[in-house]
């Protein structure tokens, strides 16, 4: 079955017809040529397909495109529309990658995660569920656990996200 939908991606509105089995990731990459989100595991385990969807970090592999008609998506590419986003600059400053394949997902996840921190959302390692939360290394590690890096550039990624968290 085909379905019609509209997606706003990095500020551009797209109308497209997709087979209902198409994932959001495949719609972005194969249909719209938006290749910043990457296909890693395709099972929600690696985070390389992460985008900001209606303002929140979101996987695009475990999502059927048809269910996201009308969504507003920002990819790592779109974050740099007016020059590098502070999180992207921090990845450069702190050498937060090696091959770079997971980086767009890491960057989008970090941007969404820092918003969650700002809103005071607790995490698994937060000791006081109702108190103030420090953006410590322990907090950042836990909150970024949905993004894997096969090169193992975690020390740089951690330093970059902590730098961005300090603003």
């Amino acid at each position: 079955m085909d379905a019609q939908l509209s997606l706003t991606v990095d500020g551009t509105v797209h109308s497209l017809t997709v087979d209902t089995r198409t994932t959001l990731l495949d719609a972005l990459r194969e249909r719209l040529g938006v290749i910043s989100p990457k296909k890693g595991c395709d099972h929600g385990q690696c985070g390389s397909c992460t985008v900001l969807l209606d303002g929140r970090r979101h996987l695009t592999c475990l999502a059927l495109a048809v269910a996201y008609d009308g969504a507003e998506i920002v990819t790592a590419d779109g974050l740099a529309a007016d020059g590098l986003h502070p999180v992207q600059q921090a990845f450069l400053d702190q050498d937060g990658y090696q091959c770079g394949y997971c980086t767009p997902g890491q960057v989008c996840s970090a941007v969404g995660m820092l918003d969650e921190l700002k809103e005071g959302h607790p995490s698994h390692v937060t000791e006081d569920l109702v108190g103030e939360i420090e953006p410590s290394e322990v907090e950042v590690r836990e909150r970024m656990s949905g993004n894997l890096c096969r090169c193992g550039a975690y020390p740089g990624i951690l330093a970059a996200v902590c730098e961005a968290a300090r603003g």
Binding site: M1, A3, T20, R21, G47, R57, H58, A67, G112, S145
Partner: protein, 333 residues
Amino acid sequence: MRELEYLRPDSAAAAVAAVADRPGARFLGGGTNLVDHLKLGVASPELLVDISRLPLTDVEAYDGPDGSWLRIGTNVRNSDLAAHPVVRSRFPAVARALLAGASGQLRNQATTGGNLLQRTRCVYFQDVTTPCNKRDPGSGCSALEGYGRYNAILGASPECVTTHPSDLAVALTAMDAVVVVLGPEGERRVPIEELYRLPGDRPELDTVLAPSDLVTAVELPSAAANEHATYTKVRDRASFAFALVSVAASLDLAGGVVQDVRLAWGGVAHKPWRARRAEAALRDRPFDEDALRAAIDEELADATTTDQTASKVPMVRNATTMTLLRLAEEAAR
């Protein structure tokens, strides 16, 4: 993947009717489990009925004839529920359980009802090239002889030895939560302990719900014990892994005597395991570590293990002891 029809009804009743009318129809919520199953071939519905945009997103307190409740709409995302001020302050075990599960991205997508109805992560259930009685009734159980570290130690059957994967469900079981279900015949309230079933000779059924039964809300009873509660998860990695064992516990002490205690285990059975024998052994008695360990051992008396699951017995015993001692320490402060 087979051809897939898609429908997005504008009411819960219309969604229920759409699934009831069509064998091979399934509800679609956040999709974090079902979309994966479409890819793996574990599920092959003909029709998806998308309920993810229905406005079942409120978290609200209400007073009923049987006390005060917190009603959580089924489409409240796991991250929003864990961050909700009332959940954090009055149902800390629920917030802790949610935060112990999945990743930040997945918690933003996964819904309350979907979390409860997620299916086992048994490697054989997810691998369509292997026999599995839960996925393909009558085909056999590969986990009996194969990789079994995550297998059940309580309530298993020769047909299925898997465990339930949800952290949230374990906390809700300890809290005596009620699941609100809308079916073709109308609405009913199902205590969470009655929602899940043991595998027996029908391991393909995780719950007592029919395919056209839609979970519309979860309700948490206000109780002092639910405020003095927490959730402990033991897993292979520090983050983003399913439980080997987990413990949801609450404790209400007065003068060193147990007034109320609630205990549920994850990772040990086909359903969240309410440890009622241990609770009964502890209630109205002085609280100390020896009594606690004896009570836990009473609950574990029927445990059956293999070489691969033998470690779960001391694991759940120690995790439970640590969790309740910590709650007692907090209460003493």
